[in-house]
Each structure stands twice: as structure tokens, then as C-alpha cells.
């Protein structure tokens, strides 16, 4: 949308880019019509004859030895399939990075809601009743329920120190840098769990195939993750496992690794019963049992000069991984690498640990560890500004990275550095300086009036404030991740001569399929509608890697662009003339199919030159490139109720190139609101290790009435290795809202919270402590 997009002055002159007809245009979504008419079929919309309904029996204690599992003889078990760990044909594990998590607990449970037994029946109500007819006896053990208890080793959940992973990033002479600094400023920051809260709960359907394999359909981000996990679980060769994505009602990371669990459960029930089995979680179960954002504690010590120049950073990051490893080391890695924020440091040391607790395993959530450490460093920037008496914007301006600067991992920022651009544009668009001064004036006037007994007529004591935040977000897998993934993408021709994109990356709402149509259409010079995108189905698409880490467009999009170029070259050579539009393409394609047979082109990921990473020292190019975001949040706080109302949000984000501006703005708006929710209201509360508020009545996410107007400006500073210059956009917007909200509240009230969410309860306590 034109109003939310501006070309950047740093964008190369147009002659260097062939300006495409489809790329950069807001074409209709491929899945749009089906979604607005109700025709799109999500997993629970499929009609499967003879299907059984599956249910999971879960633990009720956080740490215990299982003494016995008994099926109540008074219950009628006729027609019920019952599966426990002894029914597993392969290895009893959820194979992700490690194999530490059992698919079904056998001797011990390490968190509440850990799966122990599976049940399936034709009648959904009977199976639900059966869950309470399973009696489990435990010998309880002392649990470690949060990261502090884990660090204290209140219980040993993992190894002899509870540590899943430790990362050290060191650069420069830290001691010397602190000695040289005018001041040392310290802070400690906390953030809690957050639930992804896709509106479609996790759902999977499993069926045995005639050839002795398994076919799984369901709501997921990464079919090949499930494919890998199921081979291990069922002891099957790859070709006997088929994983197919159905239309997916949101993911945000919550359907990155968890589908291997629910998919594995459905598969075990199908394996034993010989019938198709569907497991559809209800909201209570999904909220209580599935992965969440890792809670974190970040301690920061910085050395700064009196003029605001940042010198030294010493950060200590601890994340709570929950009871099993899942993706925790990778989450920690991203969190650690982002802990220095978007700034230059002469010397930095980042020490990061992920620890195990007796709580449900945490996993992927948009931003993947970075929002936690960025919340800390951005909050800390505001603390530095306050201590130095500097404007927070001026402090950021002074220290934000520029082209050629070096990050704590030693990565030289060689191109596409939008930090200053997004900062300035946000400040200007939000009228930051003017608003800041105005709110200060108005707040002072209100306070004076209240003192004089002449407050607002309705008696409310309202204060307004504006806060900013800035972040950079590495796009694609961290470090050597992309090379290890070794992604393969393919493009072929359907019998009727249409190009068909074959990738395992999934449409989960972000618009992937539409954008892939644009890319191929653009290269081939044909209408994007003519391009098909195959359903991610491991029988029919190669492994182009998972749909995570803001990599789909930037990395896989690049592979598909290359595929399309290869196809174009082949067809043009064959036709002996350039392709002239859609009809011509179809003619040539059909002739090729007739004369030469099928046409399929492939492209494997190749590491761009000049990118080096060392996993042992954590030094090198952590990412091919970073995307940049700045935000300004305006709030109004009621001093008596401590409620915070979001007034307005302005954000500028450098994403390289917007292939489809409306979809990009959609990502930014949606991610921003998730960040605002995390900052203000989303709090997972536990009681004895059990998620206590596992329903939408008390785990609150923003509604349309809570959502502020979000003014988005897309900045485009192209990246040479992204298709048409594009960088990842999926996670970036999640990075900035939370610290900006806290800064705005501090500006409004003078009260700075170091822990989110800033619920009225938490803010009230802080206001009372300060004696407001």
C-alpha cells in the first residue's frame, strides 16, 4: 500500500534493477478467495470415514516417578484404543536436535501435562470421558519450577547442572574498556512465557498406508521436521513416511517443533488401531501443554562515556528451556547474538545459558530468543539515557551501527544497514521530539492542577508518554545453520504446462504461496496466477528447510528465483525465442512436455561467498544480513488503576525489498501487536508447575479494541543475496514493541518496569513503591 511504503534514498539507481511487473505489486493472495468464503479446509474440516478421535492422558505433577497406570475396570473400554510407551515400534522420543524427550513418559514425568497414555475411540465424547478413567499413581519428587530454582539446583532436571547449553561471545578487551568508561550502569531485566496463540489449535490426522507406512496431515510449519521425527518413532525408512500440510491457522513458531509430538501421538494410535486417527487439541490443552516463548533473565553491565558513547557491554543471559531440550540451544544462540542490540561496542562479553526446569518445554516463537535480549538491551538503553540525562533518541542516534561497523561476533556489516534510516524515519513520522515535549508539559500541568485540587473533572489522573526502541534482526538460520540445512527447491511443469513450485515451506498466513507465484511469474514473464505452488507434502516436494527464522522468502525465495531462471533458459533455448507472456509460455511448455518429457529444475542452497562462521568461538558472520526496525509507542496511563492504554504506534522497518507490500505490512502490523500484547497483558501463570490460566478468558491477547493505530513505513535498502534485495520480515516486528512500551510508561509516569508484562498489578506495585 503506497502510504505505508517509501523508497529509500540508499536504494540503488533503478537502472541496476530490472523493475519487475509482479514483484513489488500487491497482487491478490492465492489463498484469499478460499479463506474469505469458508472453503479453505483446515485439518478439523476434513471428513475422514472411520476416523477415531484421539486424546492424550497427561501428568498432573511436575516431577515424579510413575508408580502405576491403571485403567478403571468400572469404565466400558469397548472399542477404545489404548497406547502407552510399550507400543512404540521405534525409539520412544521426539527427535528434534536431541532425543531426550520421550514421546510418551514411561518411568518418570518431568513436567505437568507430560503425555503418558493415548486413547482413541469413534465417539469423541467417550474418549474424553475415558481420560478421567485412567488412574496414575506417582511418587512425587521435588521440582525446579523456574530458572532461579534451576540455577540453585533445587532439582536436577538435566545432567548435573541443569544447563542445556552455554554460549560465550567475547570481543575486545572488556576490562580495559570498563576502566576507560566514565560510568558503569547496570540493570536486570525479566520477561515471561508467551503463548503463540494461533487461533487454530494444534491438529493432526494419521493413517496407515497400504505399503506399511504412515501418512500424516495437519497444521504445521515444517513437514520435514515431522518426517524426521516419525521415522525414528515408528522405525520406518523415509519413503514410508508421508507428511502433508493442511491449511494452517497460524503458527508463529508454535507449530515449528510441536507438530512432531501431536503427529507422533496420532501416528501411534493409528498404528495400533489400524484406523485413521485425528487429534485436535482444545484450547485448554493447547495452552497448557504446548511450547511457549522462553522466559528470560538478562543482567547487563555497561561502560559508557559521559557524552553517551557506549564502550563496554557485559551481558549475562539465562533462559528457561523447560523440561526437555527441543530447539532451546538455537533459541539461546539467537538470543545471545542479539544481546548487544543494534549498537557499536568497543568490547563485549555475552554469556548465555539455557537451563532446564520442570515445566512444559519451551520452543520457537516469532523472534526466537531475540525479543527477550532485545527487550533487555533496549530497556537498558533507556536507563543509560536517563542516568546521563540524555534523550533516548539521541543516545541511539549516537551509537546505532552503521555500514562497516562490527557486531560482538565480529561480523562486519557490509551492506543493507538500515539502522539510522529506520530510527530517523520513525522519529520524524511519530513527531517524537514534539510529542515528548508536549506530553511532559501536559503531565506536569496535570500534576500541578491535581495538587491544586483542580484535576480532571472525571477525577481521572491520566499521564501520557512516548517511548522508542530500535533493533536489528538476523535473517535466516544462525551461523552455519543454512549450510547445514542444505535446502533444495524445485520447479517443474504440470501436464498442462504450468510451472509448479515444489518446496517444503508452508503457507501459514504470511502469504508465502502468493509471493512464490510472484517470483516465478516475474522471472518467466508470465502472470503470477499461472504459477502453481504445490502443497507441502514430503512425497511430492523436496526438503527446502523449515518455515522459520524469516528465511522462507529471503533464502528459499532466492532458490526459486534461480530455478525459474534455469527453466526460462531451458525453454527459451528450446523454443529458440524469448518467452512472450503466459500464453507463449504454455505453448512452449506443452511442446517441451510432448517432445522431451517432464521438465524439472532444482536449486540447492549455496553459501554466499564471504560469509564465515565458527561454531566453536561464536565468531564470524552470524547471519547473511540483518533487517532493522524502529518503533515509537505512545501510551496513556491511569495513575489510579495503573491501566495502560495504547494510543498510537509508528514503526519503520528496513526489510530490503517488499515483494508484496501489503503482505509485508500485514506481517509488521501483526507482529507489532503480538509484541504489544507481550509487553502489556500476556502472562502465563503457573501453579505448582501447571499452567493456571490456560484459557482465553484469563490468558489475554489484544482485541481490536486494545489495538492502537499502527502506522507502518517500509524502508527498502536492498540485500545483494536476497531476491530483488529482500530480507526477512517475519520476526523483526516482534523485537521492538515491548521495550518501547516500557519506555513510554516510564516517560508517562516516571516509573520504569524491568519486567514484562506491564500488567496493571505490576505497574500498580511499582507506582506504589515510588509513592505516586
Amino acid at each position: 500500500m503506497a502510504r505505508s511504503r517509501t523508497a529509500s534514498p540508499e536504494r540503488p539507481a533503478r537502472k541496476t534493477i530490472t523493475l519487475p511487473a509482479s514483484v513489488g505489486v500487491n497482487v491478490p493472495r492465492k489463498d484469499g478467495r478460499d479463506k474469505v468464503t469458508g472453503a479453505a479446509l483446515y485439518l478439523d474440516d476434513l471428513r475422514v470415514p472411520g476416523v477415531l478421535h484421539g486424546r492424550t492422558v497427561r501428568s498432573t505433577v511436575a516431577n515424579a516417578r510413575i508408580v502405576s497406570v491403571t485403567l478403571d475396570p468400572a469404565f466400558d473400554w469397548t472399542g477404545m484404543t489404548v497406547v502407552d510407551h510399550r507400543d512404540i515400534p521405534g525409539e520412544n522420543c521426539v527427535a528434534v536436535i536431541e532425543r531426550d524427550q520421550p514421546m510418551l513418559a514411561s518411568t518418570h514425568v518431568r513436567h505437568v501435562d507430560e503425555p503418558i497414555l493415548l486413547l482413541a475411540h469413534e465417539d469423541a465424547e467417550r474418549v474424553e470421558a475415558a481420560v478421567s478413567a485412567v488412574k496414575i499413581e506417582y511418587e512425587p519428587l521435588t521440582p525446579a519450577l523456574n530458572l532461579e530454582e534451576s540455577l540453585e539446583k533445587k532439582a536436577l532436571v538435566r545432567g548435573d547442572d541443569n544447563v542445556f547449553k552455554t554460549i560465550r561471545i567475547e570481543r575486545g578487551d572488556l576490562d580495559e574498556a570498563f576502566v576507560r568508561s566514565d560510568r558503569v550502569i547496570e540493570g536486570e531485566y525479566w520477561c515471561g512465557h508467551q503463548e503463540q496463540l494461533y487461533i487454530e489449535n494444534n491438529a493432526m490426522l494419521a493413517e496407515r498406508t497400504k505399503d506399511g507406512g504412515i501418512h500424516i496431515r495437519g497444521s504445521m510449519q515444517c513437514p520435514y521436521y515431522v518426517h524426521g521425527a516419525l521415522q525414528v518413532l515408528l522405525n520406518l525408512p523415509p519413503e514410508k513416511v508421508r507428511i502433508e500440510q493442511t491449511v494452517t491457522g497460524g503458527g508463529f513458531g508454535g507449530k515449528e517443533d510441536y507438530p512432531s509430538v501431536i503427529g507422533g501421538h496420532a501416528a501411534l494410535l493409528a498404528w495400533k488401531s489400524g484406523r485413521p486417527v485425528k487429534i485436535v487439541y482444545d484450547r485448554l490443552e493447547d495452552l497448557a501443554a504446548t511450547t511457549k516463548r522462553h522466559p528470560a533473565r538478562v543482567r547487563i553491565k555497561t561502560g559508557v562515556m559521559n557524552d553517551g558513547t557506549l564502550v563496554a557491554l557485559d551481558a549475562d543471559v539465562v533462559m528457561d528451556g523447560g523440561a526437555y531440550l527441543t530447539l532451546t540451544p538455537v533459541v539461546l544462540s539467537r538470543g545471545a547474538i542479539h544481546a548487544g542490540g543494534c549498537y557499536r561496542w568497543d568490547a563485549a562479553r555475552i554469556f548465555a545459558r539455557a537451563v532446564a526446569t520442570n515445566t512444559p518445554p519451551n520452543g520457537a516463537f516469532r523472534g526466537f530468543g531475540a525479543p527477550q535480549t532485545l527487550f533487555a538491551i533496549e530497556s537498558h538503553m533507556d536507563r543509560i539515557a536517563a542516568e546521563l540525562g540524555m534523550d533516548p533518541l539521541a543516545l541511539r542516534r549516537k551509537n546505532a551501527v552503521k555500514l562497516g561497523d562490527v557486531t560482538p561476533t565480529g561480523q562486519v556489516l557490509k551492506e543493507s544497514v538500515g539502522s539510522h534510516e529506520v530510527l530517523e524515519r520513525t522519529a520524524k513520522r511519530a513527531k517524537y521530539a514534539e510529542k515528548r515535549a508536549r506530553y511532559e508539559r501536559e503531565n506536569a500541568a496535570a500534576e500541578a492542577a491535581e495538587r491544586a485540587g483542580k484535576g480532571a473533572k472525571d477525577g481521572r489522573r491520566l499521564r501520557r508518554g512516548i517511548g522508542m526502541a530500535l533493533a536489528m534482526h538476523g535473517a535466516g538460520f544462525t551461523g552455519s545453520g543454512e549450510s547445514k540445512l542444505n535446502s533444495l527447491a524445485a520447479l517443474d511443469l504440470t501436464p498442462d504446462g504450468r510451472p509448479c513450485v515444489r518446496i517444503s515451506n508452508t503457507e501459514i498466513g504470511q502469504g508465502t504461496n502468493t509471493v512464490f507465484g510472484q517470483i516465478v511469474g516475474e522471472v518467466l514473464g508470465i502472470p503470477h496466477e499461472q504459477v502453481l505452488v504445490h502443497v507441502p507434502d514430503t512425497d511430492h516436494v523436496p526438503d527446502s528447510g523449515p518455515t522459520v527464522a524469516s528465511r522462507t522468502l529471503m533464502v528459499v525465495g532466492g532458490l526459486i528465483e534461480k530455478c525459474a531462471k534455469k527453466m526460462k533458459e531451458k525453454l527459451e533455448l528450446f523454443a529458440e525465442h524469448p518467452i512472450e507472456g503466459g500464453a507463449d509460455f504454455a505453448r512452449i511448455a506443452k511442446r517441451w512436455l510432448k517432445e522431451r518429457g517432464p521438465l524439472r529444475v532444482e536449486q540447492r542452497y549455496q553459501k554466499p561467498t564471504g560469509i564465515e562462521w565458527d561454531d566453536d568461538t561464536y565468531q564470524g558472520d552470524a547471519y547473511g544480513v540483518f533487517a532493522y526496525a524502529a518503533i515509537a509507542v505512545e501510551v496513556e496511563v491511569d495513575l489510579d488503576t495503573a491501566e495502560t492504554k495504547l494510543l498510537h504506534v509508528t514503526t519503520a522497518q528496513d526489510i530490503g525489498r517488499a515483494i508484496h507490500p501489503v503482505l509485508c505490512a500485514g506481517q509488521i502490523e501483526g507482529g507489532t501487536l503480538q509484541g504489544l500484547g507481550w509487553a502489556l497483558m500476556e502472562e502465563v501463570r503457573h501453579k505448582d508447575g501447571k499452567v493456571w490460566n490456560h484459557q482465553l478468558t484469563n490468558y489475554i491477547i489484544p482485541t481490536s479494541a486494545d489495538a492502537p493505530p499502527i502506522d507502518v513505513e517500509i524502508v527498502e535498502i536492498p540485500y545483494s543475496n536476497g531476491p530483488w534485495g529482500a530480507k526477512g520480515v517475519g520476526e523483526l516486528p516482534m523485537d521492538v514493541p515491548a521495550p518501547a512500551v516500557i519506555a513510554a510508561i516510564a516517560h508517562a509516569t516516571g516509573c520504569r518496569l524491568d519486567e514484562i508484562p506491564a500488567t496493571p498489578e505490576r505497574l500498580m506495585r511499582a507506582l506504589q513503591r515510588r509513592g505516586a
Binding site: Q196, I199, G250, G509, A707
Partner: protein, 163 residues
């Protein structure tokens, strides 16, 4: 299931009389989705919190997960499948599609029904009125901006048509 416990229920669904055999405890959402095969209406919580199951009963937006099907016996029920006119999407559907109001699409059917009911009673709602009318429908993807844009756009188009 005990077949004897089934009772007949007849509703005008999207303009057609539909009869189904259900238990007295069957919710309207279950009857629509699993008995009548109209899976457009979604279940996001089954507790009245998310709005994904919103349909119109006699024109009034109703959470079908909290409504017994039998309570709708003899009444008119409109679901997302009933919005299009002979295969032509309603301007509201079209507007959601064009503005990016539907991402994952799971909240969309319920959102559309709430918006439709709003536009039935108010041809020119303000942005605040729209966001208020939709505040019972959760969306986790869009941040709501493009949903509000879509309703404004559809309202303008419908007003234009009515001229």
C-alpha cells in the same frame, strides 16, 4: 451414541431448510460443522472467548459454540458459506481478500459475520465503531489494521451500490 437420544432440528441455514438429527446437548457449531458439513465456521476455543464460531441467528451475531442447536429450531442461521451470492463473493469478503484482512484465515469467517451484522445495522460505521463491533473476534495474525480497512472499504462500496 444412543440413537434414541437424537432429536430432529430444522433450521433455515443460508436460506435453505435443513433438518438434522442431533442430541439436545449438540451446539449449533457442532451441528453446522459435523452434521450439516458446513465447516466454514471455526472452533477456536469452544468457550465463547475467540469469536471464530460467530454466525448470525435471525440476523444477530451469535457465538455458535455457546448456543444449543435446538435453540435455533425454526430460526434462520447465516454462516460464512451464505455470504456469497451465487458464487460471487459479498463485497465484504472481497474487501477482506483485497486489503489483506485474512492471513491464516482462521478468524476470518467469524470476523466476516460480525462485520456483516455491523454493516446491516450501520451503513457508515466509524473506525471506532468497527473495532468495537469486532472486539469479540480475536485475530492473532493481522494486528486488526487491515481488517478494519476491509470493513471500511466494504462499507463504502455497499453505500456506493445503494446509491
Amino acid at each position: 451414541m444412543d440413537a434414541a437420544a437424537l432429536v430432529p432440528c430444522t433450521m433455515q441455514v443460508n436460506g435453505d431448510a435443513r433438518t438434522c438429527a442431533i442430541t439436545p446437548a449438540t451446539t449449533l457449531l457442532e451441528a453446522l460443522r459435523y452434521t450439516l458439513g458446513l465447516t466454514g465456521s471455526k472452533q477456536g476455543c469452544d468457550k465463547g472467548d475467540c469469536g471464530a464460531c460467530t454466525v448470525l441467528v435471525d440476523g444477530v451475531p451469535t457465538l455458535s459454540c455457546l448456543t444449543l442447536a435446538l435453540a435455533c429450531d425454526g430460526r434462520a442461521v447465516t454462516t460464512v458459506e451464505g455470504l456469497a451470492d451465487k458464487g460471487v463473493p459479498h463485497p465484504l469478503q472481497d474487501a477482506f481478500d483485497r486489503t489483506g484482512g485474512a492471513q491464516c484465515g482462521f478468524c476470518t469467517p467469524g470476523m466476516l459475520m460480525s462485520a456483516y451484522a455491523l454493516l446491516q445495522r450501520e451503513a457508515a460505521p466509524t473506525r471506532d465503531e468497527i473495532s468495537h463491533a469486532l472486539s469479540g473476534n480475536l485475530c492473532r495474525c493481522t494486528g486488526y489494521t487491515k481488517i478494519l480497512d476491509a470493513v471500511e472499504l466494504a462499507a463504502a462500496e455497499l453505500r456506493e451500490r445503494a446509491k
